[in-house]
């Protein structure tokens, strides 16, 4: 099992460009999450999904969109990147949302110039 994988590992964008981050899991998990991690801030939830075809906003959703067309994939989109979106992005998944372990991917480092 690969667990949770993320693509790409690192990306540099110019302000205003768009991109999509891909998260894939092979553990048949229902729940998937996108977090961003900034120095001194810990992990902050951007969006999450409780199942295929469903998405919901987290703590810091502005400037991001997500889609969960297939159970194993969770996509995070930046329509018009801003320097404030420079961060490390982690995807996570869990079998059931409440009281269950979240398994994290290796992260995507994004730099917006």
């Amino acid at each position: 099992n690969a667990g949770v994988t993320q693509t790409p590992k690192f990306r540099v964008l110019k302000t205003g460009q768009s991109m999509t981050l891909l998260c894939a899991q092979d553990m048949n998990h229902e729940y998937m999450y996108w977090y961003r991690q900034d120095p001194g801030m810990g992990l902050r939830l951007i969006h999450y999904s409780v199942g295929e075809g469903t998405t919901a906003k987290g703590e810091v959703p502005d400037g991001y969109n997500v889609s969960r067309l297939k159970k194993q994939n969770f996509l995070l989109g930046l329509e018009s990147a801003a320097p404030s979106q420079t961060s490390v992005y982690f995807c996570a998944s869990s079998y059931i949302g409440d009281g269950e372990t979240q398994y994290f991917g290796p992260g995507t480092r994004l730099l917006v110039l």
Partner: protein
């Protein structure tokens, strides 16, 4: 609202003990603890559930005081491998989302 962790950082010698605290202003269903090594993903350590159930697989213990909405992680007889940043994630009842604290950086020296 993010839980508050303390201390922000701690330096230990091998074999010493440490306690990391996590406090929330909201009623909690569960508390999760993760450790992150520099440049890596967070790794699960333990879950403490309302009612006393615990799930974990490492030689690290924790407590959960539901009334005070607090949890503590106990690093006993620390090893070099315990170095990293520890995060608590709190889950309020029925919302399936974790709010993470800012982290506690632990450095264990030989």
């Amino acid at each position: 609202q993010q839980p508050v962790q303390s201390p922000q950082a701690v330096i230990l010698r091998e074999g010493e003990d440490a306690v990391i605290n996590c406090s929330s202003s909201k009623a909690l269903y569960s508390v999760h603890w993760y450790r992150q090594k520099h440049g890596e993903a967070p790794v699960f350590l333990m879950i403490l559930l309302k009612g006393g159930e615990q799930k974990g697989h490492e030689k690290i213990s924790a407590s959960f005081n539901e009334k005070k909405q607090q949890s503590s992680l106990y690093l006993t007889a620390s090893q070099l491998s315990y170095s990293g940043t520890y995060f608590c994630g709190t889950e309020s009842s029925n919302d399936y989302k974790l709010s993470f604290g800012a982290g506690t950086t632990v450095t264990v020296r030989a």
